[in-house]
Symmetry: C2
Subunit: 240 residues, 2 copies
């Protein structure tokens, strides 16, 4: 098989990688990409696997290639809050800090492309474009975090759950429009995780799903699969 014109000279690892275009690797030259790829490893983690623990030393960063990573924080008495979800091709890791301030866990089965900390930081120093991409991603995450603060602080349980379903749906299909027909997707989180994301209890989340179902907004199959029948009505229930 001949090399694709765009992948000539690129590491096999990167040839079909989404992060090379939309993710931070897009900032690298073919040469640098080769260098980074040498130090990188593609790895899988299954649902529930802890990728990095709170207060652990950070030895590596990673790109999400598929699946969903959840970022969580916990209070000393065990109360937990999910503070972010990372989808492909997001970058996972906190540059310029050796100790993690949160835990990262595979919410679904996940594929990661993992780089040693030192290599990434060296490249960042010599390739401003890489730092620029990282800034862009960090700003995006900050915007998301702030949007979510409004949801956590000011929305009702019904609005929180509607906002959550909408957010997931939009991540699966970014082109989704209010007037379009049904959209189907799998929730990447259990009821307990959704509760931890929304600052609610499992029971309240479940009741809100039931309500949306009885109002004909969604259908649910096997607990995780959502068929979103009335996008408009869901968007209206989300508050904003």
């Amino acid at each position: 098989m001949r090399d694709d014109i765009h992948t000539t000279g690129l590491p096999a690892l990167c040839a079909s990688c989404e992060a090379r275009h939309r993710g931070i690797c897009g900032a690298l030259t073919a040469e640098q990409l080769t260098l980074l790829a040498k130090a990188s490893s593609k790895r899988r983690a299954e649902e529930g696997a802890e990728l990095i623990g709170d207060a652990e030393n950070v030895e590596s960063y990673a790109n999400v290639l598929s699946g969903v990573v959840k970022l969580t924080k916990m209070l000393s008495d065990g109360r937990q809050q999910i503070v972010g979800l990372q989808f492909a091709p997001d970058f996972v890791g906190r540059p310029f800090r050796t100790e993690s301030t949160l835990a990262a866990e595979a919410a679904t089965d996940v594929e990661l492309c993992s780089f040693p900390r030192a290599t990434v930081e060296r490249m960042m120093a010599e390739q401003p474009d890489l730092e620029h991409r990282l800034l862009e991603q960090t700003l995006k995450e900050l915007d998301q975090a702030r949007d979510w603060m409004v949801t956590l602080g000011r929305k009702t349980a019904a609005e929180k759950v509607a906002s959550f379903i909408l957010m997931i749906a939009r991540n699966i299909d970014p082109t989704m429009q209010p007037q379009q027909r049904a959209v189907t997707f799998d929730l990447p989180l259990s009821r307990a995780e959704i509760a931890d994301f929304l600052g609610l209890t499992i029971e309240t989340v479940s009741r809100q799903f039931t309500r949306l179902r009885s109002e004909g907004v969604i259908r649910i199959e096997h607990n995780r699969r959502v068929i979103l029948d009335d996008i408009r009505k869901l968007a209206a229930s989300a508050g904003n």
Copy 2:
């Protein structure tokens, strides 16, 4: 008057500016600083003044020189959430986006050093160190936002108010220790604003202040001044 050795050749505007050291201007050469200073203006805004509205076009960025700027988001029905507080020498503005996604308002009387958007973005392109500083600040804000998500999603009203007072106290005096004697400072926010920051109502915030007062943790003068008598007990009430 002779120039201080450290300010030789620097714009008068910047000579005594905190942002030159701790803020993003520290990334600039004397030459660039001069260039930026030419396009900059120091301005004051009084308490309550809107610095930039939601969905407005961003024409300038700014450094906070003194006072506190609050960043707010609002739902269509008027519910409001404060999503960030900026103290000196923080940078205010969202790079790489022409339209603001939140409103910035002077929470107290504020001094700002304001730069035209175009100038900052040009310098960012030619001075990677500037982008690096911006990345550092953005990461710091992201960490803060995520900490606050835990507070909003999982803490009780009592813990929220304790966390808030502690956060403000630590911003006024970063060296504050649990065992130390009383610390006095002014709250930069009204009860209504504290409520919007914590996802509570005015009344609940007020009741929690009263409780802390009756427990001997704090004293309050003229509504705004807090004398923090028992730092340890306050920290214990903050959850975490």
